[in-house]
C-alpha cells in the first residue's frame, strides 16, 4: 500500500513566521513538516506522510478575496489524500480559515479534511456540520493531544472506518443523525441508565444536550437618559398582510419598518406571522410582542432619550445559528449607523 499523502495547514504564528504583526502574510508553502507538524507526523504514524505544509497569515486569509482559493491551490499541487488544518484552538480568525479551507478541500478536491478547535471558537458554529472538528483545549498547551485526535479522525475517515460518537472520538458534534433499531426497548435502556447514574457507575447519554459558547458581554449603556435604543423582535411582527413575505419559520431574512411616527402597534396594521406559537394574543395586541407603546411612554418620561425610527424584525429561530449570526452582523451595521447604543430584543 502506498503512503497516504497529507498536507498540513498552519497560520503565521504556528508556522514560526511571527505573531500578530505578520497576520497579513500571504499564502506560502514548505515541503515536509513545520513546527507542530512534527507532533502531527508522529500521531499519523508510518502509513501517512506530511508532504508539505501550507501557511498563511490570519488577516490575509480572512480579509483578502480569493485568499482561501489561493491556499487551496497550494494544497492541491501536492495531490494530497488528506488535509489537516490547525488546530486553531480558540483563535477565531484561524478557526474560520481552517473551517472554510477544509470545506473547500472536501468539496472541490474530494479529499478528507479535518481541523481542530476549542468549542468556543466561532468557526465551530459555522463549520461543525460540514467538517469534522477535533475538540481541543483553548490554547497550544493542548497541542499534542489535539494532533492525536485529528490524526485518528483523518485516518479513519480516509480508510472509511465508521466513526464512533463525538464523545468517543473527541470531535465536535456534527449534527448528523443515524437512525437504527436498538436491541433493547427505550424503557429498558432508560432503567439501566438510571441505575448506573444513581450508583455512580459510568453511563453515556444517547443524546447530549447542546453546549453553547460564551461571549464577552458588551459594556452597559453609560448614560441612558441620552441614549438611543432600538427595538428588535424575533416574534415575526410585520405589517398586516405581510407585504414582504417574511417566513413563518426558519426566516432567511430580517426586515425593518418605520415606527418613528407611531405611538403603538395597532392590531389593524400589524400582526405576527410566527409559525411556532399561537399568535392570537399578539394579533389582538401586537405590543404584546413588540412593546412599542410602553417604550414610547418611557421615552416621553425621559427614561431614555430616543427610540430608533425603525422596528427590526424577523422570525425567531434559535436552531440555525449561522443565520442568526448573519442577521446580527447585518443589523449591527444599521444600528451603528443610526447611533443606537442599546437594543431591546423580544422573542417568543
Amino acid at each position: 500500500m502506498s503512503t497516504i499523502r497529507v498536507v498540513h495547514y498552519l497560520n503565521q504564528f504556528f508556522s514560526g513566521i511571527g505573531a500578530e504583526e505578520h497576520a497579513g502574510l500571504g499564502p506560502a508553502k514548505k515541503l515536509g513538516v513545520v513546527g507542530p507538524g512534527i507532533a502531527l507526523q508522529q500521531a499519523l504514524g508510518e502509513g501517512a506522510q506530511i508532504v508539505a505544509t501550507v501557511y498563511c497569515g490570519d488577516n490575509y486569509a480572512n480579509e483578502q478575496a480569493n485568499a482561501i482559493d489561493a491556499i487551496l491551490a497550494l494544497v492541491s499541487e501536492e495531490r494530497p489524500d488528506i488535509l489537516i488544518a490547525g488546530p486553531a484552538f480558540a483563535s477565531g480568525r484561524y478557526g474560520l480559515a481552517c473551517g472554510e479551507l477544509c470545506v473547500r478541500a472536501q468539496d472541490r478536491l474530494g479529499i478528507v479534511a479535518v481541523t481542530g478547535m476549542h468549542p468556543d471558537n466561532p468557526g465551530v458554529d459555522l463549520y461543525r456540520t460540514k467538517v469534522h472538528i477535533a475538540r481541543t483545549r483553548e490554547s497550544a498547551a493542548g497541542m499534542s493531544d489535539a494532533m492525536k485526535v485529528m490524526a485518528q479522525l483523518a485516518l479513519k475517515l480516509y480508510a472509511r472506518v465508521p466513526l464512533g460518537t463525538p464523545q468517543e472520538e473527541r470531535y465536535i458534534p456534527t449534527g448528523r443523525r443515524v437512525h437504527f433499531v436498538a436491541e433493547q426497548s427505550a424503557a429498558l435502556r432508560a432503567v439501566d441508565m438510571l441505575v448506573k447514574k444513581m450508583s455512580g457507575q459510568p453511563y453515556a447519554t444517547e443524546w447530549p444536550v447542546p453546549s453553547y459558547s460564551q461571549v464577552e458581554p458588551a459594556p452597559p449603556v453609560q448614560d441612558l437618559a441620552h441614549a438611543k435604543i432600538a427595538l428588535v423582535t424575533t416574534g415575526g411582527v410585520v405589517p398586516r398582510g405581510n407585504p414582504d413575505r417574511l417566513e413563518s419559520a426558519y426566516a432567511s431574512k430580517w426586515l425593518k419598518y418605520p415606527i418613528g411616527e407611531l405611538n403603538d402597534l395597532k392590531p389593524s396594521d400589524w400582526q405576527s406571522i410566527h409559525g411556532g406559537f399561537d399568535t392570537t394574543n399578539v394579533n389582538e395586541d401586537p405590543n404584546r410582542m413588540a412593546p412599542l407603546d410602553a417604550l414610547r411612554e418611557l421615552e416621553r418620561e425621559g427614561a431614555f432619550q430616543d427610540l430608533a425610527d425603525e422596528l427590526y424584525t424577523t422570525t425567531g429561530n434559535t436552531a440555525a445559528i449561522p443565520t442568526a449570526r448573519r442577521f446580527a452582523q447585518e443589523m449591527l451595521q444599521e444600528l451603528r449607523a443610526n447611533d443606537v447604543q442599546g437594543v431591546i430584543l423580544t422573542s417568543a
Partner: protein, 426 residues
C-alpha cells in the same frame, strides 16, 4: 395494591355469530359491536374492520388504540370513569386479550384541532416497522358522525388550536366507544382461565435499593374519565395506569394501549426488588404557555417525587412544543433536589444545525432517544385504505406512495418506552 393480569394470547381474529375466545382465536360479533357503538347518538354509522399484520392495508385518520380488558375481580371496573365507576382501580384480577388492539379511526370533524393529527398505520411494508400496531390484530372502528351535530361546516376543520366544544364532545364519544368495545371483547373471557397470569405488586424492598419514581409528563388525556390539567401533578400507582385509569390520547403520539402496557413502568417493575425500589408514578402537565405556570407544574412534579422519597426518576417527556420546557424544568427541579433523572425523549431537530430540543437543560445528561420526529419514511402504494378518502394534513392520494415524517406514523413517536427505534448523534 396487588393486580393480577391474566392474558389470553390471541393468534387469530375473525367475525362470527357470537363474540368469544377459544383456542387462541377471537371471534367478533360484528352486529353486536355496531349496536354497542350506535347506541350513542353521536354516530350515524360505524364500520368494523378486522385488520391483521402483513395485510396490504393502510389505515388513515387513526387516533387512539386500546387493548381489550375486563375486570374479573377486585374493586372498581375496567376503564373507570368511562365504562365503570370512576373509583380507584389497580387491584384484583383483570383479563386482557394479548396481541389485540381496538383502533379508533375517524376523519377530523369541523372545529377539531388537527395540528399534527396525521396518524397513518401501514400493516405491511416499511411503515410497519415504525408502528407497534402493525404487529397487533386490530379491530378498527371507523366512525361516521351524526350530521346533526355539525349542521354548518362554517368552522374550518384544519388547524383549529383549541377545538370547539362540539368537536371535543365528539372526540370524547369516539374514545368512549372504543373503550366500550374493548371492554365488551374481553368480557367474553370472564369465566375462562387465562393462558398465563402476571402479578404486579410493589412489595417491600431491601432498604439499600434506591427509590425510583416514574415521572410521566402527560398531555390532554383523561384520568378516571376526567379531562383535566394537572398543574400541581398527581400521584398514581402504576397498577392504576395498567388498569385503564389513564386513557384517550387524542393525537396518538401516545396511546392508551401503551399505558395499559406502559413499558417504562413494566421495566421498573422488572427491576423492582433487584436493582431499584419502584415507589410510584407522578403525572404532571399543564396546558398554558405561561412561564409561572411552567415553574409551578415542574416544581410540583419534583416535590411529589420527593414526597415519594425518590432518589431517582425516570421521565417520560414531551418535546416539540412549549411543553418541552416543562419537561426540562422538571428535570432541573429533580436534580436540584438530589433526585437523579433519566429521560425518554423524541428528537425534533429539522437538520444538522438544529440540536433537536425546544429547550435543553444541562442537567438532562442521561437521555434515551426514541428517534427523530421528522425522519422521512416513504410508504409504497397500498391496495386498501381504511379511514376515509383524505389525509388530515396533505392533499396527496392516500392510496399512493407517500413520503411522511416519522411523527405521521401511528404511535411512532411515543415516549411510553416500548419502541426500539433510536437515533445516534454524530
Amino acid at each position: 395494591m396487588r393486580l393480577e393480569v391474566g392474558t389470553f394470547q390471541i393468534r387469530a381474529i375473525e367475525f362470527g355469530a357470537r363474540t368469544g375466545v377459544a383456542g387462541g382465536t377471537l371471534v367478533v360479533d360484528k352486529d353486536e359491536v355496531r349496536r354497542l357503538v350506535l347506541g350513542d347518538s353521536h354516530f350515524a354509522d360505524v364500520q368494523v374492520h378486522l385488520v391483521r399484520p402483513g395485510e396490504n392495508v393502510r389505515i388513515i385518520n387513526a387516533k387512539d388504540a386500546v387493548e381489550p380488558r375486563w375486570k374479573v375481580s377486585g374493586p372498581g371496573g375496567v376503564f373507570p370513569g368511562f365504562v365503570s365507576a370512576p373509583t380507584t382501580v389497580g387491584e384484583g384480577r383483570t383479563h386482557r386479550l394479548g396481541g389485540v388492539a381496538v383502533l379508533e379511526v375517524a376523519e377530523p370533524v369541523p372545529g377539531e384541532q388537527t395540528h399534527f393529527r396525521e396518524q397513518i398505520l401501514d400493516m405491511s411494508g416499511p411503515g410497519a416497522e415504525f408502528s407497534p400496531f402493525a404487529q397487533t390484530l386490530n379491530v378498527a372502528l371507523e366512525f361516521t358522525p351524526n350530521p346533526s351535530l355539525f349542521p354548518s361546516a362554517s368552522v374550518d376543520a384544519k388547524d383549529v388550536l383549541g377545538g370547539t366544544n362540539e368537536a371535543e364532545d365528539y372526540n370524547r364519544a369516539t374514545t368512549l366507544a372504543c373503550l366500550k368495545v374493548a371492554a365488551y371483547l374481553a368480557r367474553a373471557t370472564a369465566d375462562q382461565t387465562p393462558d398465563h397470569v402476571e402479578t404486579f405488586e410493589l412489595t417491600p424492598c431491601a432498604p439499600v435499593l434506591p427509590r425510583v419514581a416514574c415521572l410521566y409528563h402527560t398531555q390532554a388525556n383523561y384520568l378516571y374519565g376526567m379531562k383535566i390539567a394537572l398543574p400541581f401533578g398527581t400521584l398514581v400507582h402504576p397498577n392504576e395506569v395498567f388498569d385503564g385509569a389513564l386513557v384517550g390520547w387524542r393525537q396518538a403520539y401516545r396511546s392508551t394501549y401503551w399505558d395499559q402496557n406502559n413499558q417504562a413502568m413494566r421495566e421498573l417493575y422488572q427491576a423492582h426488588g433487584k436493582s431499584v425500589n419502584f415507589v410510584g408514578c407522578v403525572l404532571f402537565y399543564d396546558l398554558t404557555p405561561e412561564r409561572e405556570q411552567k415553574e409551578r407544574v415542574s416544581s410540583a412534579a419534583g416535590k411529589l417525587a420527593r414526597l415519594l422519597g425518590a432518589q431517582g426518576a425516570l421521565l417520560l417527556g414531551i418535546n416539540g412544543s412549549n411543553y418541552a420546557i416543562d419537561t426540562m424544568l422538571a428535570i432541573q427541579e429533580c436534580e436540584k433536589l438530589g433526585i437523579k433523572t433519566t429521560l425518554i425523549y423524541l428528537d425534533v431537530g429539522y437538520g444538522p444545525d438544529d440540536p433537536g430540543f425546544v429547550h435543553a437543560a444541562p442537567e438532562a445528561d442521561a437521555i434515551v432517544c426514541i428517534g427523530s420526529r421528522d425522519r422521512k419514511i416513504t410508504l409504497p402504494p397500498t391496495a386498501k385504505v381504511i379511514g376515509g378518502q383524505r389525509l388530515a394534513s396533505s392533499d396527496a392520494d392516500p392510496r399512493g406512495e407517500l413520503t411522511v415524517n416519522q411523527r405521521d406514523i401511528h404511535t411512532a413517536c411515543s415516549t411510553q418506552g416500548f419502541t426500539r427505534q433510536t437515533t445516534r448523534f454524530f
